[in-house]
């Protein structure tokens, strides 16, 4: 991760003076008596690369699921671009410009890379069945526009050589990249990434880091990233929230958070010596 880390200092810090894109307000989530999220609040501003980290079972994925509308908070409020997601179904949250990737790869195994990405354009298809049937007019124009967008992302993520190969034939790291691509072709404003580097080797992890920085800089997409690997996050994120047993124990820039005694305790155990 040398190069991106070196360049990190040169990057502009995202502007945090405006209105936040995501507002997570005093959210509590309980499942039959178990508290997954305990009174957590944070705000994510447009253009930020925001990370949520914590040990296994800290409530990271639950936080994600609250944002994407899969779970309803027991108490508190989640707002995206000023809209309360409480009353929305997950597919309606998507219409707000939210895309996500999953911890485990969720691609259509027998579709090619290209086809998997075209699926991501689904929300941009507005044509009717008749037009589609004869493939004229708007249907045709849309198909061309959608393909063009997909090709842009194929180039962005260097997926050219895998374009016509079925997803299941491809290495795991490439499948994760395709999944990222499928989220990007939606042209989201907010991208939710659930452990994008899980199960990857060193080189693949560095690739992912580079792509995520490119997404931030070139595509101007706000990203929220869930990760348990501290290393990945420290070089990437603008700000970090640390969860432990559903509680927020720290928030701030990666450097400060890394030195926070609470955080060190959560990661290394009570007896770890704080240096």
């Amino acid at each position: 991760m040398d190069a991106p880390a070196d360049q990190r200092a040169l990057r502009r810090a995202p502007d945090r003076s405006g209105t936040p894109l995501v507002r997570f307000e005093e959210v509590t989530l309980t499942f039959s008596g178990i508290t997954a999220i305990d009174d957590v609040s944070f705000e994510v501003y447009p253009g930020e690369l925001y990370a949520i980290i914590g040990p296994n079972g800290a409530g990271k994925t639950s936080t994600f699921n609250c944002i994407s509308g899969v779970y309803r908070p027991t108490r508190g409020r989640v707002e995206i671009a000023g809209t309360d997601v409480e009353a929305l179904q997950p597919h309606q949250v998507t219409r707000l410009g939210v895309a996500r990737t999953f911890q485990n790869v969720e691609l259509f195994p027998m579709l090619t890379t290209l086809e998997n990405l075209l699926v991501g354009r689904h929300i941009h298809y507005t044509s009717k069945w008749l037009g589609d049937g004869i493939f004229r007019g708007r249907a045709r124009r849309q198909e061309i526009a959608n393909r063009a967008k997909v090709e842009e992302i194929i180039e962005f993520l260097n997926l050219e050589r895998y374009r016509d190969l079925p997803a299941s034939f491809l290495p795991y790291g490439v499948q994760k990249r395709i999944e990222l691509g499928r989220a990007l072709v939606m042209e989201p404003e907010l991208l939710l990434l659930d452990e994008p580097a899980a199960g990857m080797n060193q080189e693949e992890t560095e690739d992912v880091a580079r792509y995520l920085l490119d997404v931030q800089e070139e595509l101007d997409i706000t990203q929220i990233l869930v990760e348990h690997d501290m290393g990945v996050v420290m070089d990437l994120a603008d700000r970090v929230t640390v969860l432990d047993f559903g509680r927020k124990i720290a928030e701030g820039d990666p450097e400060d958070v890394q030195r926070d005694p609470e955080v060190i305790r959560a990661y290394l155990g009570d007896h770890a010596e704080v240096q």
Partner: protein
């Protein structure tokens, strides 16, 4: 733009001579206008550029370079994979009277630093962030670099280095002034001295630091004209530019030859998609280095292993008949009607589908160059109707001095001299070459130039050769690499190594035997093919190193070596071997940018492994 060029510039056009590449481009653009010159695959679609469009981009780039202070005799470095911008930058620099310097995009920082500072480059064209990072990091060592033009500026937007500028905005400034200043650049092209250096080609340097060979406009145009005269290369040819453009071999096929006749050059999507691009373009001429042919060969063999029994039987029969018939043709014997029928049948059943899959169906002139290739590999390709012609030449003579004519190939030779070149064998049967192609000299290295070109103009190639009764040259090895065994036999390690590399499981082989009783070899297995073989047999492994330590794998390589040994004389046969525990890499200074083994470094590093065998 075309209009302005034809209006007041007819007289100027007359003065532009055809002894330079930019001059040839101007004339081709004038004669051919909107006919296609370049195609590049972008966003999954082949985009075409006309000759006039090609010229205009080169002129615009030249204007931008002039504005950036590039002048006659300056050096412009290019760090990129093959793409349109590569040739635009190259020809623009030449138009001004400056020299282009190609740098391998795979070169690590220290090597980039060496070339930029040695050449004193003032402007660097970088393909992307990866290349920019290197140039930014070596800023202190390269004070001459004033401008860094970035073709794909993704990820570099917030870099603090004020030398950086995006290709589009850089060239756009030139496009905006095209009407006003095209004549200025055309005047410069008309004034180009054909004997001045036009480009620097750094040789990969298996020993010592790379040397910058200066090629003049006359060198490269003479090389192209000889190729056109000898092989019937026409204006209808289609080719794919994919080998590194900093190497003279690809320069011949991307720049020299197309600019001699007006053929079309294609740029694929990326280095990873060559196989697909090749299938789509189906070029009429194609140059491959041995590694490319080896890869194609092993990909066919591996795919065949997966196919049905019927297909395998057909393939074997086709191979046998194909090799028999092509050998018969080469021996100068006529085919009888039955021979023709047999060829036709196998062409339909085996050769044609195979050629189509490889993208070589339309290719009448498949060439192998840049390094010696195993005769057995060539026989195999001839046996599937791909009559590869081996060529030969130094960077120092603009890339080619010898080549097999496509209709009279002799396998195992590199062919007769091309028109305009003289060749004799000097002391120790060293191949000496003379002609208009012989280079100007090494940049900033008079001494090396004197050692290479003697007072009579003979270029000393450093290769040992023999010439047969028809004037075909065969190369037996490098003078300095020759192995003299303890028994006093002179052997060429390359021949032994290439024979071993015909096995799909052997990717790299280094033969050892100087002053020893027998020949041994260090082998790097082909990770993909051996990995595939291992998983098929249920041999579990974790890493490359683990794979090389498996008894089954050692056994496999042993069998392969025994098989390959059959093609060698007794004294040349490999009697002992060890598997390398890692893949050789340029970053570890084990390979050159052209993927050749640096022998001295290699022998030192693996001395212990070598001693084990004796």
């Amino acid at each position: 733009m075309s209009a302005t060029l034809t209006a007041g510039t007819e007289e100027l056009l007359q003065r532009i001579h055809r002894q330079s590449l930019p001059g040839r481009l101007i004339h081709l653009a004038h004669d051919r206008g909107s006919a296609p010159a370049l195609r590049e695959k972008r966003l999954g679609v082949w985009q075409e550029r006309s000759w006039a469009g090609y010229r205009d981009e080169v002129l615009a780039t030249a204007i931008a370079m002039l504005d950036a202070g590039v002048d006659r005799g300056d050096h412009v470095a290019i760090l990129s994979e093959n793409r349109e911008e590569w040739v635009f930058a190259d020809l623009a620099a030449q138009s001004i009277g400056a020299r282009s310097v190609g740098v391998y995009p795979t070169n690590p920082e220290p090597e980039v630093a060496y070339i930029l500072s040695h050449s004193g480059s003032v402007l660097v064209v970088c393909e992307d962030q990866e290349q920019v990072d290197k140039v930014v990091a070596i800023r202190d060592q390269t004070p001459t670099v004033r401008r860094v033009v970035v073709v794909d500026p993704r990820g570099t937007r917030d870099y603090a280095d004020e030398r950086l500028v995006g290709w589009q905005s850089f060239v756009q400034a030139g496009r905006d002034q095209l009407e006003a200043r095209a004549a200025e650049v055309l005047e410069r092209i008309a004034a180009l001295d054909p004997d001045e250096p036009a480009m620097i080609v750094y040789t990969s340097g298996t020993t010592g630091p790379p040397k910058g060979a200066m090629l003049s406009s006359r060198n490269v145009t003479a090389s192209a004209d000889a190729g056109v005269a000898a092989f019937g290369y026409s204006d209808r040819e289609q080719c794919l530019s994919y080998l590194p453009l900093c190497h003279v071999a690809e320069k011949i096929f991307t720049l020299y030859l197309p600019l001699a006749t007006g053929a079309v050059v294609h740029f694929g999507e990326s280095i990873d998609t060559v196989a697909d691009d090749l299938r789509e373009v189906s070029p009429t001429v194609f140059v491959g280095v041995p590694r490319i042919w080896e890869k194609m060969h092993s990909s066919v063999l591996v795919k065949m292993g997966d196919s049905s029994r019927l297909k395998r039987a057909l393939f074997r029969a086709g191979q046998a008949q194909g090799q028999r018939l092509s050998a018969k043709k080469q021996a100068g014997k006529r085919w009888n009607p039955l021979d023709h029928l047999v060829w036709k049948v196998f062409d339909l059943l085996v050769f044609r589908p195979l050629q189509e899959r490889l993208g070589l169906r339309r290719c009448w002139f498949p060439v192998s160059g840049a390094a010696p290739v195993a005769p057995e590999l060539l026989r195999w390709f001839h046996g599937i109707g791909v009559p590869i012609a081996e060529g030969y030449g130094q960077t120092e003579c603009a890339g080619v001095s010898h080549a097999n004519p496509p209709d009279a190939v002799k396998i195992g030779t590199v062919g007769p001299v091309i028109p305009g070149v003289e060749c004799v064998l000097g002391a120790g049967d060293e191949v000496l070459v003379r002609g208009p192609q012989v280079f100007v000299g090494y940049l900033h290295n008079e001494e090396a130039t004197r050692e290479t070109v003697d007072a009579d103009g003979w270029l000393h190639t450093g290769d040992v050769g023999a010439v047969d009764e028809d004037g075909y040259l065969s190369i037996t090895g490098r003078i300095k690499d020759i192995i003299i065994t303890a028994g006093g036999k002179n052997l060429s390690p390359e021949q032994i190594e290439n024979q071993m590399k015909t096995s799909p499981y052997i990717k790299e082989c280094v033969a050892i035997g100087d002053g020893r009783k027998f020949i041994s070899a260090l082998i790097q297995i082909d990770a993909d093919n051996v990995g595939d073989w291992a998983s098929r047999r249920g041999v579990a492994y974790t890493s490359f190193q683990d794979l090389t330590s498996k008894d089954e794998v050692v056994q496999l390589v042993d069998t392969e070596i025994r098989r390959c040994n059959e093609g060698l004389a007794r004294v040349e046969q490999v009697r002992a071997f060890r598997l390398l525990p890692k893949e050789l890499h340029q970053d570890d200074e084990e390979l050159t940018a052209t993927q050749k083994v640096r022998r001295t470094a290699f022998y030192e590093r693996y001395a212990a492994l070598i001693e084990e065998m004796y």
